[in-house]
């Protein structure tokens, strides 16, 4: 307690000074302890009242309302900014949701379009296929008909040629005509074999 000790010793010194000196007055009192010199109290109190009163006035009328206002404005601004941020976030979320929804719709639509395109293409191909097949079948039938006609014609001619050839051969070999009726019979018999 060095501080307390010093202070007390000062007190003691002041006491003795006060006793030894004859009614020391104010600043000229020399050894008198200034804080206990009551002749300065009037001035100190006067100036304390003036300065502290002025300080109180300046603080309560200017400085403190101003700082309070600054803090309040800042608090309001932060609150409103937070609200604005909240609102914007909501808007963003909504925009994202609607974007995603339209994306899904578009995708579905695209899928549908592709599907229908595929279906028409398939149907087209199938119908064309069928057409071509029918055409081929028709042509095939025609060709077969033609072939069989040609064949029949050829066959008919073969009989005629065989008959006339047989008559010619028999005429050459036997020197006389053979009844055409017999030849036709023989050819028919040979053909049947």
């Amino acid at each position: 307690m060095a501080l307390a000790f010093d202070w007390e010793s000062m007190m003691a010194q002041q006491q003795t000074n006060a006793h030894t000196e004859v009614a020391g007055h104010g600043a000229e009192a020399g050894g008198n302890f200034p804080p206990f010199d009551s002749s300065t109290y009037g001035s100190q109190l006067l100036w304390l009242v003036i300065t502290f009163g002025l300080l109180y006035y300046l603080m309560s009328k200017i400085a403190l309302p101003r700082i309070a206002n600054i803090l309040e404005v800042r608090r309001d601004r932060i609150a409103s900014d937070l609200g604005e941020a909240e609102r914007l976030k909501k808007e963003t979320d909504e925009a994202i949701a609607s974007y995603e929804q339209s994306l899904a719709e578009a995708r579905q639509k695209a899928h549908g379009i592709a599907q229908s395109a595929r279906d028409t293409a398939k149907a087209d191909i199938e119908s064309k296929n069928a057409e071509i097949e029918a055409d081929i079948a028709k042509k095939l039938a025609e060709a077969e008909e033609k072939i069989s006609a040609v064949k029949a014609a050829a066959m008919g001619e073969v009989e005629e040629i065989a008959k006339s050839t047989t008559e010619a051969i028999l005429e050459q070999v036997m020197g006389s005509g053979v009844a055409a009726k017999d030849v036709a019979e023989a050819v028919a018999a040979a053909k049947a074999n």
């Binding site: 060095a2 501080l3 307390a4 010093d6 202070w7 000062m10 104010g26 600043a27 050894g31 302890f33 200034p34 804080p35 206990f36 010199d37 002749s39 300065t40 109290y41 009037g42 001035s43 100190q44 109190l45 006067l46 100036w47 304390l48 003036i50 300065t51 502290f52 002025l54 300080l55 109180y56 300046l58 603080m59 309560s60 200017i62 400085a63 403190l64 101003r66 700082i67 309070a68 206002n69 600054i70 803090l71 404005v73 800042r74 601004r77």
Partner: protein, 250 residues
């Protein structure tokens, strides 16, 4: 008398303002430093906040910090109702703090090292407490001296102790600040005086002056702490006493 540690508390009259009923009023060095104190406070607070920045500058941030410190101290101690005393508490805190800190400059006068100043400030607080206490609570303010839940047999003693402790408040409030500032400056001056006397005594003295010099440096740091701490103690006790005026029942 250059080494007289008491000399720094001397009040010097610069010119007299006149005499009323045998009491002399004068312009003194103390008055100059009181004026300097409020000029520094008002100048700092008003100029630093003149920008009204949404994003505060460093100076404005400091002003807001002091504001918030005092406001939260008062609100936590005396409740929201105590905020009506905010200008008073804020003025007290800044006045005491600035006066203490200005006193730390060499050759500067410490306003708060005079008992009459600290006593006047303490009486201002206590008077406010008593007047507001009776205004708000009427006779209920006297419940302050009657703690609830005390057995009837020892109640008279408790009441006496409560009254004594209440009466001692302005004394303890003023003496604490006064004593701290006075003692601190005396000790500082004594050690600094040693340095001066020893270095005047030659080479050995220079060597011997190292210790008091180190002490002076350490004490200067301590005194800065004390200057801030005592201003805060004065403020928080003011808040506690104001709380008694607002909520007298324990």
């Amino acid at each position: 008398m250059a080494n007289d540690p008491i000399q720094q508390f001397q009040i010097n009259k610069i010119f007299s303002l006149g005499e009323v009923g045998g009491v002399e009023f004068a312009m003194t060095n103390s008055a100059i430093f009181m004026i300097a104190t409020i000029v520094v406070i008002s100048g700092f607070l008003i100029m630093s906040t003149s920008g009204r920045g949404l994003v505060p500058s460093r100076w404005q941030s400091t002003a807001e910090l002091i504001y918030e410190l005092v406001a939260s101290t008062l609100r936590n101690t005396a409740g929201t109702e105590g905020m009506k005393f905010f200008p008073l508490v804020f003025s007290l805190f800044t006045f005491v703090l600035t006066a203490n800190l200005i006193g730390m400059f060499p050759y500067f006068f410490t306003v708060t090292s005079h008992i009459i100043v600290t006593l006047a400030l303490a009486l201002l607080v206590i008077t406010t407490v008593i007047l507001y206490g009776f205004m708000r609570n009427g006779m209920g303010f006297l419940k302050l001296f009657v703690p609830s839940g005390v057995p009837g047999a020892i109640l008279p003693f408790i009441v006496i102790i409560e009254i004594l402790s209440f009466l001692s408040r302005p004394i303890s409030l003023s003496l604490r600040l006064f004593g701290n500032m006075l003692a601190g400056h005396i000790v500082l001056k004594v050690f600094a005086g040693f340095v001066v006397s020893l270095t005047a005594a030659g080479a050995a003295g220079w060597l011997g002056a190292i210790f008091p010099f180190a002490m002076t440096i350490a004490l200067t740091a301590l005194e800065f702490l004390v200057a801030c701490l005592q201003a805060y103690v004065f403020t928080i006790l003011t808040c506690v006493y104001l709380n008694d005026a607002i909520h007298p029942s324990h």
